[in-house]
């Protein structure tokens, strides 16, 4: 089977780039001809869009379009394609999350949400959601349920679990107090301000030596949000207790996970949330907000709260810190969840079953 994987931007380590690359690798392992096409690929690994054209008219080929934000050329390609079409839907953050923070993001995300309806109307052969939450989005946009399926994003968990951590950073992060860890780019939907409020309460009432590690890129287009984070850090007097790690490598990310006592995600909107799976795979107990796809991804392997009340989050981390049995129970649940739902062989099997169903 010829499979053309289409993404707007093929990142090296971001969730969508990883999904596209690993998906292509899985298909190749099973004897299919899989190629990646992108408008931009800073780290390489993709062919230009012009090379995609012959495949669009090949009825035996399959086009898999990774859709995560508004990109009119992608819609145009889908519309012109005469081959079988699969939309890989990673979800688009609702623009309301960026209101007051970034008009540019608000506009781009608004366009992306509008494209969901457009793509739903193209009547593609299959719509693959990262999670049931994403599929619900598609159903609301008018996609027929029988044309939908859930396949979690392909990941590099094996790579993360097997490769050694950065020992220098591991030593540097050695610490007596509780270590909270949050992973994800600095964006308003990730609710860093709520995270800082919860951490400040924990620092004041539970552990004066606690520390918060925030791993994630800072986006200049979200400077107002970045500034708000700094102001919140300053307002709570957290300067000596919060450490931001930008642009970390995989071995550095692993060092952060290994040093963490709890992984905290208060994000209000996630189409899947890969860091949750990384935390589970590395045995870090999770405290998360029961919002969007996070409850499904976590699969009962963490402490979930409907609202990110600082006291609940702080008390959760304190309970995890003091209750070894609960910690071990959540760790085992997490490892089981990863093995059953997100292991590469599981995802391969699910993807192949979906694609074979097309023919």
């Amino acid at each position: 089977m010829k499979v053309a994987i289409l993404v707007a931007v093929l990142g090296e380590r971001d969730a969508i780039g990883t999904d596209a690359r690993e998906m292509a690798a899985a298909l190749r392992r099973h004897g299919h001809e899989a190629r990646i096409f992108a408008a931009s690929a800073p780290a390489g690994g993709a062919e230009p869009l012009a090379a995609l054209e012959p495949l669009l008219d090949d009825p035996g080929a399959v086009l898999v379009y990774h859709f995560a934000f508004g990109w009119p050329p992608g819609v145009d390609i889908l519309r012109r394609a005469r081959c079988r079409r699969v939309v890989r839907y990673h979800n688009v953050t609702p623009p309301a999350f960026f209101t007051g923070w970034s008009s540019e993001y608000e506009r781009v995300c608004g366009a992306g949400r509008d494209e969901v309806a457009t793509i739903a109307g193209l009547d593609c052969e299959l719509y693959l959601g990262d999670s049931p939450f994403n599929v619900e989005d598609l159903l609301a946009a008018g996609v027929a349920r029988e044309r939908t399926a859930v396949v979690a994003p392909f990941n590099r968990l094996d790579h993360l679990v097997e490769r050694p951590a950065d020992l220098g950073l591991l030593d540097a992060l050695a610490h007596d107090g509780t270590t909270w860890l949050a992973v994800g780019r600095l964006a308003p939907n990730k609710a860093h301000l709520a995270l800082l409020d919860a951490f400040a309460l924990y620092l004041d009432r539970c552990d004066a030596h606690a520390r918060l590690l925030v791993v994630g890129g800072e986006d200049p287009r979200l400077e107002r949000y970045n500034a708000a984070i700094r102001e919140r850090v300053s307002a709570h007097g957290l300067g000596a207790h919060v450490r931001f790690l930008h642009g970390v490598r995989d071995d550095q990310l692993k060092a952060a996970y290994l040093r963490a006592d709890a992984f905290v995600s208060l994000s209000a909107h996630e189409g899947f949330c890969v860091p949750l799976v990384e935390a589970m795979a590395l045995g870090v107990p999770v405290v998360a907000r029961a919002a969007a796809a996070q409850p499904w991804t976590l699969g009962g392997a963490g402490l979930l709260w409907d609202e990110p009340e600082p006291a609940l989050v702080a008390a959760s981390v304190e309970r995890l810190r003091g209750d070894a049995e609960l910690r071990h129970a959540l760790r085992e649940r997490g490892l089981r969840r990863v093995a059953e739902a997100f292991a590469p062989r599981v995802l391969e099997h699910q993807l192949l079953a979906c694609l074979e169903g097309l023919s």
Partner: protein, 468 residues
């Protein structure tokens, strides 16, 4: 530890956490630890989201902080390392901050951003005026003259500032000195630990060498053992070869023995057939003799007359080599008669006369009789059994089976015929009773020996077992 939590248990944990959360606010505030991480990574900086600033906001900072703030405010980004180094170098060469700010603001990138900085334009113009030959130094002089008072105030303020900084610096140096002392102590401690580790490593090396020696000794012992086992194994293999040889020979001998047994069996079978033929012939001769014996009845009557009176009623009588007439006479007295006839031909003949006969060898019959269990033993024809049971042995067995006082009748009826038959069969004959005497019988344990020869001359003796 039980790691399995079911959903119900997790729900209970959620409830307990809710209760803990409600109690958090009532806890006392903890004193903050400042050693958690290095401070300053996200320290408050110039708010780059604004587009309007006062020039003092930007010029108050110094050195790298000034450069960073200028780029964030005027270009809305952080400087690259090269840009930062260039700006700091300009400041080090004496460039005015207003000139650096103005160059950024009115650069192509700065114009695109369009940030407003109140009070910057005249300062920038003045800074640029200094670059004009002649006019620049003249303006500098005039300005210096005009601002001499302010400069003096500034110098006094700087003196106070530096004095304060000097105190801070001394305090910092003191703290650093203390820290250095602490580090020195730690280094010394580490040195001691390293020495300890060296000593430990040395011990490990010694232990490893000792282990290596032990292992070498064990290896030598094992090699020796292996060699001896190999030798033993070789010897065992040789013995096994010998055993194989012996086994083959054994099988061969066994085969020969089997063939020998078969040959012997064949020989015996032929001999038995020969004996059977001979015995049958002897029996026919004996029958022929009996049939022609007209005096048999009178002989039997005479012996009956002598024997019956000395026996008790219902006496147990054994008649060896009997003939039917003799046993019928005994039975007629009510005696319990056991008639023994080893010759099957004669036994069958006797059977036909209505007498119960036991077909067995005379010696075998007497050997199985209990001691002193018989009242009388009669042998009318000693010649017929002499080949199997000579008279001397017969006397011994009779002495054992007869109860004390029991009677023994010996006769040699048909002695001539029997002798002829025995000679024909190639057997010796030793039953000539006429040669015996009372003294000889007494020596064998029998008393009252009386000669009761028949009228036809057949020799016969009636004996009584001695009573102890």
């Amino acid at each position: 530890m039980n790691h399995e939590y079911d959903d119900e248990q997790l729900e209970r944990v959620h409830g307990e956490i809710r209760a803990q959360a409600a109690a958090l606010a009532r806890r006392p505030l903890l004193p903050r630890s400042r050693a958690a991480v290095e401070a300053g990574e996200m320290a408050p900086r110039i708010d780059s989201s604004r587009l309007s600033y006062a020039v003092g906001e930007l010029t108050d900072a110094h050195h790298r902080a000034f450069v960073d703030g200028a780029f964030r405010a005027l270009l809305k980004r952080t400087p690259t390392a090269a840009e930062s180094a260039a700006a700091i170098a300009r400041l080090a060469r004496g460039a005015a901050k207003a000139e650096v700010l103005g160059d950024l603001r009115w650069s192509a990138e700065g114009r695109r951003v369009g940030a407003r900085v109140a009070g910057l334009a005249p300062r920038y113009a003045l800074a640029k005026l200094h670059r004009i030959p002649l006019l620049g130094p003249l303006v500098d002089g005039l300005l210096a003259l005009a601002g001499a008072g302010a400069q003096q105030r500034h110098v006094r303020a700087m003196e106070t500032y530096f004095a304060a900084r000097d105190e801070d610096t001394r305090a910092t140096l003191d703290a650093l000195g203390a820290r250095a002392d602490h580090l020195e102590a730690n280094v010394a401690l580490l040195g001691q630990r390293i020495d300890d580790l060296h000593a430990f490593v040395h011990q490990l090396v010694l232990a490893r060498e000792a282990d290596a020696r032990t292992i070498a000794a064990i290896e030598v012992a094992l090699r020796t053992r292996v060699e001896s086992l190999e030798q033993a194994s070789e010897a065992q293999r040789n013995k096994l070869g010998e055993l194989e040889f012996v086994r083959d020979r054994f099988y061969a001998i066994n085969h020969w023995l089997h063939r020998l047994e078969e040959t012997f069996a064949e020989v015996e079978r032929v001999a038995d057939a020969q004996v059977g033929t001979t015995q049958a012939r002897a029996a026919r001769i004996a029958l022929q003799a009996a049939a022609g014996d007209a005096a048999g009845a009178s002989r039997h009557a005479g012996w009956e007359a002598r024997l019956a009176p000395v026996l008790p009623a219902h006496a147990r009588v054994v008649a060896l080599a009997c003939d039917p007439d003799w046993t019928r006479r005994l039975a007629a007295h009510g005696f319990e008669v056991s008639c023994v006839q080893p010759d099957p031909v004669l036994a069958r003949e006797a059977h036909g006369e209505g007498v119960v006969v036991e077909v067995v060898d005379a010696r075998a019959f007497l050997e199985r009789c209990a001691d002193a269990s018989v009242d009388a033993l009669t042998v009318p024809g000693t010649g017929a059994i002499a080949a199997q049971l000579p008279v001397l042995e017969l006397l011994g067995l009779a002495h054992r089976v007869l109860r004390p006082g029991g009677a023994l009748l010996l006769a040699d009826a048909h002695g001539g015929v029997a002798a002829t038959a025995a000679e024909l069969a190639g057997q010796a004959r030793d039953a000539r009773l006429e040669r015996w005497s009372a003294a000889l019988f007494a020596a064998a344990g029998f008393a009252d020996a009386a000669r009761i020869d028949a009228a036809d001359g057949t020799p016969a003796w009636l004996l009584r077992r001695e009573t102890p």
